[in-house]
Symmetry: C2
DNA sequence: TAGTGGTCTAGACCACGAA
DNA sequence: TCGTGGTCTAGACCACTAT
């Protein structure tokens, strides 16, 4: 019925919008700049706000936009390159620099899945150290490092479980406990590590640590550390997918420029 | 006005729905099974269809559900572990097994970004080999492998650019051309490789190769191959984020069970 | 208080796949 | 032809931030 459009548009509106907006924000806006609000953009393009938001959702997933409630929508900074490897992560060998900060530790009998993953019988005591990773002033990742108690070497002299005499400082109890686990862990020589990366979403607790709403897309890095011929520890790290670009350093590679992350569209 | 609810619900409806649905599909449905359609689920939970869809969107992003237009929504199979490394990928050293299949090749002067990433002056001739990766009968990734012509060693005797005498077979021309580039590439000894992983979305062409709609979330793996003291090649691989779990094999690690991918929630 | 993004609604029509 | 998910609309109200 009338309104003969320019042939068929095989492309959904929101996808076309995304392309137009992407071109606009890369050419006409600077990093950190606020783009027009959703209601105005929707009106300007003659679409419903929901459709406009669908386009913005895509760009946010791609890490090109950041939306802040009460503030507006900003052009995102390029993703931060985050080194992921034993050497860079800082275990073992000590938390070189301050890449990982221990924020807590729980000790509990292993559930079935966790026990299976650690290669210990279900119910065995497992230490779970909570850490956060800071890069360029931002929290970019949170991690749960699981170690079976039986895999943990004892410390030479110091008391292992001195239940707070000096807790008057107000320091979170789990923190020191976590650091103690890490100190014991450092006495192991790591034979190798195996790693996996996949896409996930942040649950409530992780989301809170990452200062993001629940459902935020994250890159889940699962690392298995082997020592003394057995699996010594299992680390599950969740990196903010919007701001992080995980880099894996390797064998003596002549120094190469980090890829600008935009080469994809340069076929 | 009336309808005094049970205190405040700090959680959005769609997020609560996601949790409920996740529990339901993991306990009451088998892999590949079709769950009730969106209109019925929305009615059952007393929400608008858009809200219900928001919950399904989350679960699809997590790889727990697969939606097929005209069919329904299915419970997804666990993610496939896909080895990502020089040894497993099959270059160099020959396309071991059939992990990567060459589907095309273009030769063109490098754009600015691509030239910069390859470390050659803009405008230099660059070969871009298109490949797809198949795992368990499914296309899981597509790749563009860029090599500067100047970095490519010549083959010993065979003609380099024989323009089709036997093209009568109907084979796509770019295919053989791509394989030729790979053969030449194999003559290089790789000194090292550097890798990065980040989240992206599939553009139109990639989406088509992956048999998915545009905007599909993908894991973008950027690999720099160094040979003879310089950057030899740049590979940009995009893996389906919904079905793939990238694994990085490493130094002689005692065989460990692959982590069941559900340990995250087992704190 | 005003303005922003976040959530939610109730409907409509379309594109695709199967029968 | 019918049922499915995919897209889109026009509106409403809420939560948060700045002033």
């Amino acid at each position: 019925m009338g309104t003969a459009q320019l042939a068929a548009v095989p492309e959904p509106k929101y996808w076309h919008l995304r392309t137009v907006l992407l071109r606009a924000i890369t050419s006409e806006f600077a990093t950190g700049e606020v783009i027009p609000n959703e209601r105005e953009l929707a009106a300007r393009f003659g679409v419903a706000r929901a459709t406009l938001r669908q386009a913005l959702d895509q760009l946010e997933l791609e890490g090109r936009l950041v939306r802040r409630r009460g503030i507006g929508t900003l052009v995102a900074a390029p993703r931060v390159g985050v080194p992921v490897s034993r050497r860079d992560e800082g275990w073992p060998g000590g938390n070189r620099e301050q890449v990982w900060q221990t924020v807590g530790c729980t000790v509990a009998p292993a559930g079935e899945r966790l026990a299976g993953a650690l290669g210990v019988p279900a119910g065995e005591t497992v230490h779970s150290v909570r850490r956060i990773r800071v890069a360029q002033g931002q929290i970019v990742a949170t991690e749960a490092l699981h170690v079976a108690d039986s895999a943990l070497p004892a410390l030479p002299e110091i008391r292992l479980s001195g239940a707070g005499e000096e807790a008057a400082e107000g320091a979170a109890d789990g923190e020191e406990q976590g650091r103690a686990v890490l100190r014991r862990l450092e006495r192991l020589t790591v034979d190798g590590e195996s790693r996996a990366v996949e896409l996930g979403v942040a649950e409530a607790d992780e989301a809170a640590l990452l200062q993001r709403p629940p459902g935020t897309p994250v890159l889940v890095v699962t690392t298995q550390y082997a020592a003394a011929g057995r699996l010594a520890a299992l680390a599950v790290s969740t990196y903010r997918a919007d701001t992080c670009r995980l880099t894996f350093g390797e064998t003596g590679l002549v120094e190469v420029t980090p890829v600008p992350a935009a080469v994809r569209s340069a076929s």
